[in-house]
Amino acid sequence: MKVTVKVHLILTKYQINLTNNQNTNIELSEKSLVKDLIKSINIPIEEIGMVLVNGTIVKNDHILKENDIIQIYPPIIGG
């Protein structure tokens, strides 16, 4: 299945094919979890602070489906 991924600029160092807020389409097997996606794009799981699927904050074991839009952020610091 195809999903769309956006990665925050701080995390783009891990994946040269993904750039900040640019939609990138990725093929995943059916019923993949958020953590499977993160593994497939080579970002260390401890570097992830927040994941949103279609605008809703989800946990790492959330099951993805066709055409989901996934936003991945590092731990949020500062302010």
């Binding site: 701080i10 807020n21 605008g55 904050i57 949020i76 610091i77 500062g78 302010g79």
Partner: protein, 567 residues
Amino acid sequence: MAKIIRVNMTDKTLSEHEVPSKYNMLGGRGLTSQIILDEVDPTCHPLGEKNKLVIAPGLLAGTRVSTSGRISIGAKSPLTGGIKESNAGGTAAIKLAKLGIKSVILEGKPKNDEWYILKIAKDEIELINAEDDLVGLGNYDTASRLKEKYGKKIAVMSIGQAGEFQMSAASVAVLDQDGIPCRHCGRGGLGAVMGSKKLKAIVIDDNEANEKLIDIQNEDAFNAINREWAKVLIVAKKGLTEFGTTALVDPINAIGGLPTKNFSKGSYESAEKINGRTLAETIKSRGGKPSHACQPGCVIRCSNVYHDKDGNYLTSSLEFETVTLFGSNIENDSLDVIAECDRKCDDYGLDTIEMGNTIAVAMEGGLEQFGDKEAPLKLLDEVAKGSVIGRVLGQGASVTGKVLGVERVPAVKGQAMAAYDPRSLKGTGVTYATSPMGADHTAGNMLPGAFGLNPNLSDGQSEGSRKRQIMATVIDTMGLCIFVGVDMPQMEYLSKLLTNAVGKEVSVDDILDIGKEVLRNEIKFNKLAGLNELHNRLPEFFKREKLAPKELVFDVKDIELDMVHNF
């Protein structure tokens, strides 16, 4: 030997005092709040002779601990009517520590209209008449003039026109390590308290001074722990080093919490024009600095130096709060306009958080149009001129809302909110509601991911806010920057550092007890000043108006807010 300096502005007497032993384990916010509770009548007028302006470096000031150079200022606030502490980076705290000065207490009020400068140097503390032409200047010119006269290496704490006018949004500027007045004790109108005492500036010269505020008992162990912590910070805070705090624009926008059009929406369609990447690229293309340390020894270096289109210096330390509140919150997508607003606020001596909100409220009240790029610059100039409308705006968002008949004023205890909508970031909303400081994100920010909570849901937010408020108070008391992290691993490092500093066990619980005691002091002062639990509430519209795009309201129950300070 550490000392406390008292400056009586009524009779212009100066005196030095030993530090009472009860203040030994206090510094920064812990010390300013303790002194205010001990010495200031909670019912006093904030701009009257009974209020005191208390300045204190943190407990770890002058040590090698990274970010330990923040300076705290406290007083009864003209904005909130309660106790206030506001801190900033820069060079003032480090120099005061080197002079062995644990606190400067400014009391009384001159009976005449003359303005003064307080000069603090080794073996020399002096109250000097300010030259006539210094009065009325902004912080940039004030700093240039004082550096010319007293030397380039001095630290300066000064007020601009807003402080002179005793406006409730007035800040106290602190020079950064490049000698630029871009670090501000911004919140709560402390610049107005300094202005009420007719003190234009404090000059701090640490030439030949070599005192210490804290005598480290086990220096080798202390330094080893400090080195280890610094290494951890360098890796963990890389995002802040590379992109500064504006890296927050995207995630806060994504969770629907980016204040837009005076807190009427939580998402901004032009967020990409003002986000961390655009800011970093703009700064680099014009020869500015995307990463910059506000104080010597900081390994995080979250600050920046912003140049205009022609490549000339415009402003420093353009932060997430300023970018958002002068950006999306007034529907302005121009970083250059935001940077000009920041420069004007720094120069006139205004809190950017209060003023971004104030201008949004003014726009909602029909004074100007949202999206008008000239409007915020024009309104800030009115503040510096002291025109009638400028005087209204300079009193902050709450007064401006009253004058213009605007209900949607995002403030608690009279102080406007930072750039997180509490309907989306509910834990931060709990902190806004309950902090003795008024709506202050630095008092215990609950950013996404903190304690594993979903910021859009109310579950667990009160407990999370309680923990963060206690730990943030500890960090403020140590004189550190909250960007080291307001979390248990940092409390553990502080426990180890203090154990080796004082030569006896200081447990994590002992550290947390310091934070709890300081908060209790602040709550006690506020109660005596007439602020109680009923003031620990968000404005009504946050509970009623659904925030687009996520249609969220603030639904943390009052009973949970009342339990936040049960510790």
